[in-house]
């Protein structure tokens, strides 16, 4: 991945992220966040994480962004419902805190000794075998980061954690139903289909 492209996408991500946290209108913030998430997806393609890049677009760009926009549209917030923003002193403290964290992370990064991207182990092994004249079947030719490679790791070494994700999602669904339910909402008995007139929904 060329350094120029990484810099371009990096600047795009940082600017979009800054706009996300500074916009007053939530829908502007949500759209800026979409740009930042798309940029991260683009970097993931460059890092040979093809499946994760697809998931980034589908999960973040699709599911999570739709949830945000749906809630923003559902609430249709007026100006006074957004609430007051904190005074400048609080913002200044927030900048100091974030800058301090940034400094810690950068000083940790600066201790690394000139890393570089080398050819992945799997790809090098395949290339070496093919150079020896071995006729590799498709089944054994799994390049690093391909969806096949990712799936083999996910469904062998990490099959149990993957299944446990279903428990998490189930708990989240149950929690959302409990939280979003109106305390005084109509009971299931009252919502029986008898309320719908015989002519159907045409009226």
């Amino acid at each position: 991945m060329s350094t120029f492209l990484v810099l371009l996408v990096g600047v795009l991500i940082v600017v979009a992220a800054l706009m996300t946290v500074t916009q007053r209108n939530p829908i502007h913030a949500a759209l800026s966040m979409l740009i930042a998430l798309g940029g991260v997806g683009a970097l993931m393609i460059g890092l040979k994480a093809h499946f994760l890049a697809a998931m980034q677009v589908l999960l973040y760009g699709g599911a999570i962004m739709v949830l945000f926009v749906f809630v923003i549209m559902l609430l249709t917030l007026r100006e006074e419902e957004l609430g007051p923003e904190p005074p400048p002193a609080t913002r200044l403290l927030a900048v100091v805190g974030a800058a301090a964290l940034c400094f810690i992370l950068f000083s940790a990064l600066s201790r690394r000794s000139d890393p570089e991207f080398k050819e992945p182990y799997n790809d090098a092994k395949i290339a070496a075998a093919e150079a020896d004249g071995a006729d590799m079947r498709r089944r054994t030719k799994v390049y690093y980061g391909s969806t096949e490679h990712f799936a083999r790791v996910l469904y062998t070494d990490y099959a149990v954690p993957f299944e446990l994700i279903t428990v998490l999602v189930m708990a989240a669904v149950a929690g959302v139903i409990v939280l979003a339910r109106r305390p005084d909402s109509v009971t299931l008995e009252a919502t029986k289909l008898t309320a719908i007139p015989a002519g159907g929904g045409a009226a």
């Binding site: 990096g10 970097l43 999960l59 949830l67 609430l75 805190g97 992370l105 950068f106 954690p161």
Partner: protein
């Protein structure tokens, strides 16, 4: 970090993304924006993991474990957003505001 080689560029972008998310959580009072900032922080961590996975891919090991971890983080993020937004709706129904500094926001019950 002597030269702007690509692995470090990725890690710098990830660190900046995380710090911007921290700034958003600390400085804003709008619960919607705070949730978005948390998403930015999660994305920064994910990008860092993918970058390290690629950086150590030349070693004979399972560096793609980091990619599996990123998939798990994405699933947790999706669940977290669903629960967070339903809490937001409960808060809005209660006090007609999405500000976490609202005087009645701390009395959210039921």
């Amino acid at each position: 970090m002597n030269s702007l080689t690509t692995p470090d560029a990725i890690q710098i972008i990830a660190a900046l993304l995380f710090c911007i998310g921290v700034f958003g959580v600390l400085s804003r009072r709008n619960l919607l924006i705070i949730l978005m900032s948390v998403e930015l922080m999660l994305n920064g961590a994910n990008l860092s993991l993918v970058g390290f996975a690629r950086e150590f891919a030349h070693l004979p090991g399972k560096s793609e474990s980091a990619q599996v971890m990123v998939l798990m983080a994405m699933a947790v993020a999706a669940a977290e957003v669903a629960v967070g937004l339903s809490i937001l709706i409960a808060l809005f129904r209660h006090v007609r505001s999405v500000s976490v500094d609202h005087p009645q926001a701390t009395t959210l019950r039921d």
